[in-house]
Structures are given as structure tokens and as C-alpha cells.
């Protein structure tokens, strides 16, 4: 049981890290997309 418990702690560490890495990448990607579309809009307004 104790061996499985230590494995479960490893899974906890790797699992939470994995989720935060994926979510972190998504956060950066969405922020970048948001800034890009904001710039495009500003460029469009300047043209008009």
C-alpha cells in the first residue's frame, strides 16, 4: 500500500504540473491571439 501511496504522490505532482503546463500554454496562446486581433482592429480603424 505504501508503495502505491508514494506512486500516487508522484502522479499528483506530475499530473498537476501537466495540467498547469497545458493550461499555461493555452493562456499564453489566447493572450497572444487577443493582442493580435486588437492590433488588427486598431490598424483597421486607422485606415478608416
Amino acid at each position: 500500500m505504501w508503495q502505491n501511496f508514494f506512486i500516487s504522490l508522484e502522479i499528483m505532482g506530475k499530473g498537476m504540473l501537466g495540467i498547469f503546463v497545458v493550461i499555461g500554454i493555452l493562456t499564453l496562446a489566447v493572450s497572444a491571439m487577443g493582442k493580435l486581433s486588437h492590433r488588427e482592429e486598431e490598424g483597421q480603424e486607422n485606415k478608416d
Binding site: M1, G18, I25, L26
Partner: protein
């Protein structure tokens, strides 16, 4: 009348308990409105599969041989062979979700991640209570607060507790308005719960809404390939919704498809609620661990928000962290209600919704990660 008497005599006490559980689930669905679309079919199914020599499960009939039962067949085809039912349901769920509030406030993504902590805490708890690793992981995934993900993960890991896990997952999703306020109050002060947050959403273009499901599927697929079925179908449903040219399909996915699959999923999962598999101490333990999972999901999300507040000028109401579980939109509503109770006029609903839809993505990522990580140790 003799045959009726014989039928009655064949009922075991375990089957009688299952009739009681079936009636209880139907009562909770009808009278209390707890996840009625799932709990009612599961409750009725629990009665169907536990009738002596029930024709809805395979029976060996004297002189004829094996006669197939519809619920066992549905389980074998729709869940055991392909996990098709929970995966297809994700198309409907994806079509229902508006990721706009999350895309306009990308920082809310983080709370979806923090509120998955209960999954792993429950996994370790289950191991300490004597469950083997694959069953413990299947029980832990109750903390995803996402019924289809729970069913899928427990089935992929060949857990023998699929029925109990599904009942726990859907029951606690329905009990979010009771469980979450308790957990949130455990780790927040009144002052923290009164924190107000400005809502200044960024612009979300149509192109961004279309790119998001594609990008998410691609990124998640690269990092967590086991999540592709879940995330892919969720995002496919969302792409149908956001593309703007498939209005009828989007409508069908949100209503007809989701309703049909929900109807079948409830009945089908009742196959795993046969008395011999369900009536035991393990089921009670699973219900208890499921509650722990939901409590620590909420605590994980709140503590993450409090940690971020140490570094932020504009403080986040830490209750937003608890909304990072997948139970949508109930969790966001609970958090908003609590904010209003503490400080009338405190509107944090859009932030909570952002965290809540992030929880839907994070829970399927967690499901895929659990499958990948646990299978590496088996």
C-alpha cells in the same frame, strides 16, 4: 400465482437494496431536481437490471441458450468497446459552451487547473484506503466533476466500480450548491469573500473563437495524447457552434444529440449497478472519497487564487478559484450567490463563468493525464 411467488422468492436482499437505491435516485431527480436527466434513467435502470433473471441483461435460458439483453448490449457496444457514449456526449457539451468570457479574460484559465487538485488528493486517499492504483485513479477522477470523463476514465482503466463512480460523480455535481459553500468557507475569510473585481473584458473576435478550439485540440493533443478523444470531441462541438455556418448542426448537437445520448447513457451505465457489483462497503467508501474530491477541488482552486493574490495589485476574489471545477454553470452561480450574500452588489459572475469553462477544459486534460500516468505505472 405460483410463478409470481417464485419470482418474489428469487429476490436477494442485495437486489432489494438496489430497488431502494433506484427509487432514491428517481426521488432525488424528480423531487429535488438533482441532475434529473442522468439520475432518473440510472435509478430506473438500477431497478431493471436487478429484477431476477432480468431480460435487459444476458441470460442463459434453459433449452434456448444465451439470450442477449438490451442494457448489457448497450454497455458492451456504447461504453466497454469504444467509450462512444461519453465521448459523443462531448460534442453536445462543446456546442453548448460559450468560451467568450474565458477568451476575454485569459488569466481565468489558471483556476481551471487549480481546481483539479481534488482528483489527485482523492486518488491518494483511495490508495490509503486500500484500493489498487487503477481503481484509486478511477475513483479520484470523480473530482473532475464531469460525469462523462469519470465514466470514460474508469472504463479505460478497467475499474470494476464504474457504476458507483458514475453515481458519485453525478450526485456530487448535483450537490455543488451544498458542498462548495462549505469548502469555500473553510479556507476564506469574510473580507476575502467580499473582494470586488472589475469586469473589463477584452474583445473576442470571430476568428479567435474559431481558432481557439483548433489550437486547444492541437496543443493538448501534443502534450497529453490520451486527452485527444475527450478534448477533440469537446472542441469539435465548440467549432460547430462558433464557425457560424453550421447553425442547424450546432442546434442538433446542443439539443437532440446531447439529450439522446444522455438518455441512453443513464440507462446504459445502470448495467454496472447490478447488486453483486454495487452493494458492498467499497461503494460507500467511493461515495465518501468522491465528497473529499469535490471539497479539495474547491479548496485547491481557492488556495491558488489566494497565492496569486500575493503577487497581484488588483486582488482576485478567491471564491473564483472554486468555480474552476467542471460543473457548469452551477459552480459559477454558487460563487456569485455567495458573493452577493457577503456584499450585495458584488458581481463576479463573468469571472466565475470564465473559471468554470476553463474547468471544463482542465478536467478533460486531467482525465487524459490520469490515464497516461497511471498506465505507465501498471
Amino acid at each position: 400465482m405460483e410463478f409470481l411467488w417464485e419470482g418474489l422468492l428469487q429476490i436477494t436482499w442485495q437486489q432489494a437494496v438496489m430497488y431502494g437505491i433506484g427509487v432514491l435516485l428517481i426521488y432525488l431527480a424528480v423531487k429535488k431536481g438533482y441532475e434529473p436527466a442522468l439520475l432518473l434513467p440510472m435509478g430506473f435502470g438500477a431497478i431493471l437490471v436487478n429484477l431476477p433473471l432480468s431480460g435487459v441483461i444476458n441470460q442463459n435460458v434453459e433449452g434456448i441458450g444465451v439470450v442477449n439483453g438490451i442494457i448489457e448490449w448497450l454497455f458492451e457496444v456504447g461504453i466497454e468497446a469504444s467509450e462512444a457514449l461519453p465521448i459523443l456526449l462531448f460534442i453536445g457539451i462543446g456546442a453548448m459552451i460559450d468560451f467568450g468570457p474565458l477568451l476575454s479574460m485569459p488569466s481565468m484559465f489558471l483556476f481551471g487547473a487549480g481546481a483539479q487538485f481534488g482528483i489527485f488528493f482523492a486518488l491518494s486517499t483511495a490508495v490509503l484506503l486500500g484500493f489498487d492504483l487503477k481503481d484509486a485513479a478511477s475513483i479520484g477522477i470523480i473530482g473532475a466533476a464531469d460525469g462523462p470523463t469519470s465514466i470514460l476514465v474508469s472504463q479505460v482503466l478497467h475499474s470494476k466500480y464504474v457504476g458507483a463512480i458514475a453515481v458519485a460523480a453525478y450526485s456530487y455535481m448535483a450537490l455543488v450548491p451544498i458542498v462548495q459553500p462549505f469548502a469555500i468557507r473553510l479556507v476564506t475569510t469574510r473580507k476575502e469573500r467580499r473582494i470586488r473585481m472589475d469586469y473589463t473584458p477584452g474583445n473576442v473576435s470571430k476568428g479567435m473563437r474559431i481558432a481557439f478550439p483548433i489550437l486547444t485540440t492541437f496543443l493538448v493533443g501534443l502534450v497529453s495524447p490520451q486527452s485527444v478523444a475527450l478534448v477533440g470531441f469537446l472542441m469539435f462541438g465548440n467549432l460547430i457552434r462558433e464557425c457560424g455556418v453550421l447553425g442547424t448542426l450546432s442546434d442538433t448537437a446542443q439539443n437532440v444529440l446531447a439529450n439522446l445520448i444522455t438518455l441512453l447513457l443513464g440507462l446504459t451505465i445502470s448495467f454496472s449497478m447490478r447488486a453483486e457489483a454495487f452493494v458492498n462497503m467499497d461503494t460507500l467508501l467511493i461515495m465518501g472519497i468522491g465528497l473529499i474530491a469535490f471539497i479539495f477541488d474547491s479548496i485547491g482552486g481557492v488556495l491558488l487564487a489566494k497565492l496569486l493574490n500575493l503577487f497581484r495589485k488588483k486582488k482576485v476574489n478567491p471564491m473564483i478559484g472554486a468555480a474552476g471545477i467542471s460543473a457548469f454553470p452551477m459552480s459559477a452561480r454558487v460563487v456569485q450567490k455567495m458573493a452577493l450574500e457577503e456584499d450585495p452588489g458584488n458581481i463576479i459572475l463573468m469571472h466565475a463563468i470564465g473559471a468554470n469553462v476553463s474547468g471544463q477544459i482542465a478536467s478533460v486534460i486531467a482525465g487524459g493525464l490520469i490515464i497516461g500516468l497511471v498506465s505507465a505505472y501498471l
